[in-house]
Amino acid sequence: MTRTLSAQIFMSLGLTLGAGSGLAHHSFSAEFDINSPVRLEGRVSEMRWANPHAWIYLDVEDEAGNVVNWALETRSANGLIRRGFRPGDLAAGTVLIVEAYQARNGTSTASLAKAILADGRTLFEGSPEPDESQ
């Protein structure tokens, strides 16, 4: 059974990425700018299952037709694993529409607030706990 984006996982588990995710080992407000929201549409090139934060890499085509690879910081891998996700669940090629806050240094890096799948479901949606494990 493939677990890739299975409806079971993404509908039964309540998760949110949440602005500033609240999981940090560093200050999100220091790294990212809430006054620089970005909305991106692209295809997942890779998800890096790292701690304290995992990263989703998204290929996004800009107005000139160039593909820019955005690094989108999200929850910890451990927090996702404890909720039943596993590396490989978010397959390369998956189309995502994301809302995020860009890094203050102007790079194509952002703190992920919301990620919507092509069928309208929201990736990792739900209510964040005040303190989750990471």
Binding site: A30, N51, N78
Partner: protein, 540 residues
């Protein structure tokens, strides 16, 4: 030399003659040797459950940390003999070439050159001491090197998170008579086996065997099976010696030491040891702290054989956002809210000295985010280690309370009333002595280095802090945690925070923070841009 050679040969000849002529003597001698072996087995230190007691401070005496195989001295390593059975590691041809490439590039390619987690069995061979703690259900190994720890679950089901790769892998153990056998699975392919480029893939499967030879010696074996890299399983053998001259292991924060040396992590003259009390400080009123009554512990909480509460297991603080401010605050910008954890003073405000309040406000500015030690993946200190948003595991081996934090670090709490450390020995996690006051564990800590922040918004603490923590069980799976901090450099009086700690049936994963830190450069860019602007302003 020659006479010795002749003499040795002559002795060997005499032995052979003796064996031939007096076989009974040899039999008797062999029997007495066996008796000595039996006596040694009988006199091994044993735990209450009768198992050999491995608890104590150990270190490998071989030079396997440098190169597992026979090797001459090199500029970066002393010579040493092979610890591998059949002398050489049985590489597949491609892997032998890779090992050679690794060797040539080892100065930068060695993961330990980047202070990364060492993996197993390499961590057992490092020339830094480690402490083994033993209970019926766990064996924990805490390492001085980079505050790494391993938690071995004894006689349990397969790992809850089997299949999730990590740097140190999943360890499961069982006893085979007097031998502790530990199976290590799910290690990633990013660690090496030594400093000479010997390596493995993520198919590595390790079986360790710990055998007490005598009270001060462990014969350690690790059998390594990795069909992607080797032609057959092979075994390395180390001699671990009890470090009888040590009464504790200290800290070696490899990455912090490196960044302090190269300037990437800057000294704070106001908080780091031995910063003095600022002359403009208001007097510190040590007696102003409230004597908060301890919560009541019901009789039905789990207890150990000696009657003290059993507070072992997996815990997560219900911290209410303490990592984003100890004073109550709303969500702001991208920083989550905090419900406020300060219970003394009753107004919930930290009783800052004026300079420290100003510093606290300054630390929340974006260009200061880089200065938070946890952004560098350094240790969180005390009490922050308890409420960083990551779980921890408590063990209660004889004479200790041991805390293993998922964000790779540990605390040893000495329950034997030992003296404090000399003043000049300063630690991220401090020196902690504990005692039971009724059903409450009371822990007093000092000897801090003053490098830690209390949270991401920069609540201040300095090397002068002493911390009294209480852990009071109020339900079978809940402990009320308090920490009273007395710091005459940063505060005008002691203050206390409180939060529940919730125990659940879970296992630790691994936070390999430094190894995957994608944030620090961004924070540094923000800091550097700010400084460049300041310099521009200075020049204009």
């Amino acid at each position: 030399m020659l006479p010795c050679y002749v003499s040795a040969n002559a002795f060997h000849w005499i032995l052979l003659m003796t064996e031939h002529m007096f076989p009974r003597i040899l039999v008797a001698a062999t029997a007495s040797y066996l008796l000595v072996g039996v006596a040694a087995a009988q006199t091994l230190p044993r735990a209450q459950d009768g198992r050999p007691n491995l608890q104590g401070i150990w270190m490998a005496v071989d030079r396997a940390a440098y190169d597992l195989e026979d090797h001459p001295a090199r500029h970066d390593m002393p010579a040493g003999r092979s610890v591998v059975d059949d002398v050489a590691i049985p590489y597949q041809p491609w892997a032998a070439e890779q090992r050679q490439t690794n060797f040539e590039n080892r100065a930068t390619a060695d993961p330990l050159a980047s202070c990364f987690l060492p993996g197993v069995p390499r961590v057992m061979a490092l020339e830094y001491p480690f402490h083994i703690f033993q209970t019926d259900e766990h064996v924990a190994i805490t390492f001085e090197w980079q505050q790494v720890h391993r938690l071995v679950y004894i006689d349990t089901e397969p790992p809850r998170y089997a299949g999730v790769e990590s740097w140190m892998g999943n360890s499961r153990g069982h006893w085979e008579d007097d031998v502790l056998v530990v199976t290590v699975t799910d290690q990633n392919d990013r660690t090496w086996l030594d400093a000479a480029g010997n390596f493995h893939s993520n198919a590595i499967h390790v079986v360790e065997r710990y055998s007490l030879r005598d009270a001060d010696t462990i014969d350690y074996e690790a059998t390594i099976d990795d069909p992607q890299v080797f032609t057959r399983p092979w075994t390395l053998r180390l001699t671990l010696k009890r470090q009888t001259h040590l009464d504790r292991i200290l800290e070696y924060q490899c990455q912090a030491e490196k960044e302090e040396a190269n300037g990437d992590f800057e000294r704070d003259e106001r908080t780091w040891y031995p910063a003095p009390i600022p002359p403009e400080n208001a007097p510190f009123n040590a007696d102003a702290g409230a004597q908060l009554p301890l919560p009541a512990t019901p009789s039905d909480v789990p207890r150990l054989a000696d009657g003290s509460p059993d507070i072992s297991g997996y815990f997560m603080a219900d911290a209410g956002g303490a990592n984003y401010g100890l004073e109550a605050r709303e969500s702001d910008n991208l920083t989550p809210p905090s419900r406020g954890q300060v219970v003394d003073p009753v107004d919930g405000a930290l009783p800052y000295q004026a300079w420290a309040r100003a510093e606290r406000i300054d630390r929340e500015l974006p260009h200061r985010g880089y200065d938070d030690p946890t952004a560098h993946c350094f240790l969180a200190g005390v009490p922050r280690s308890t409420y960083v948003p990551a779980p921890f595991y408590v063990l209660q081996p004889e004479g200790y309370i041991v805390l293993l934090h998922e964000r790779m670090s540990w605390r040893h709490i000495f329950m034997d009333g030992r003296d404090s450390l000399p003043d000049q020995i300063r630690l991220w996690q401090g020196h902690s002595v504990g005692r039971w006051d009724g059903d409450t564990l009371v822990v007093e800590s000092r000897n801090f280095n003053g490098k830690a922040w209390l949270n991401e918004v920069g609540d201040v603490v300095t090397h002068a802090q002493t911390v009294v923590e209480t852990f009071t069980p109020i339900a079978p799976n809940q402990v009320i945690y308090r920490a009273t901090v007395s710091d005459p450099i940063a505060y005008t009086r002691p203050w206390t925070i409180e939060m529940p700690l919730d125990r659940s049936d879970d296992e630790l994963l691994e936070v390999a923070c430094l190894e995957d830190n994608g944030d620090l450069q961004h924070l540094k860019d923000v800091r550097d841009e700010y400084r460049a602007g300041q310099n521009q302003g200075d020049r204009s």
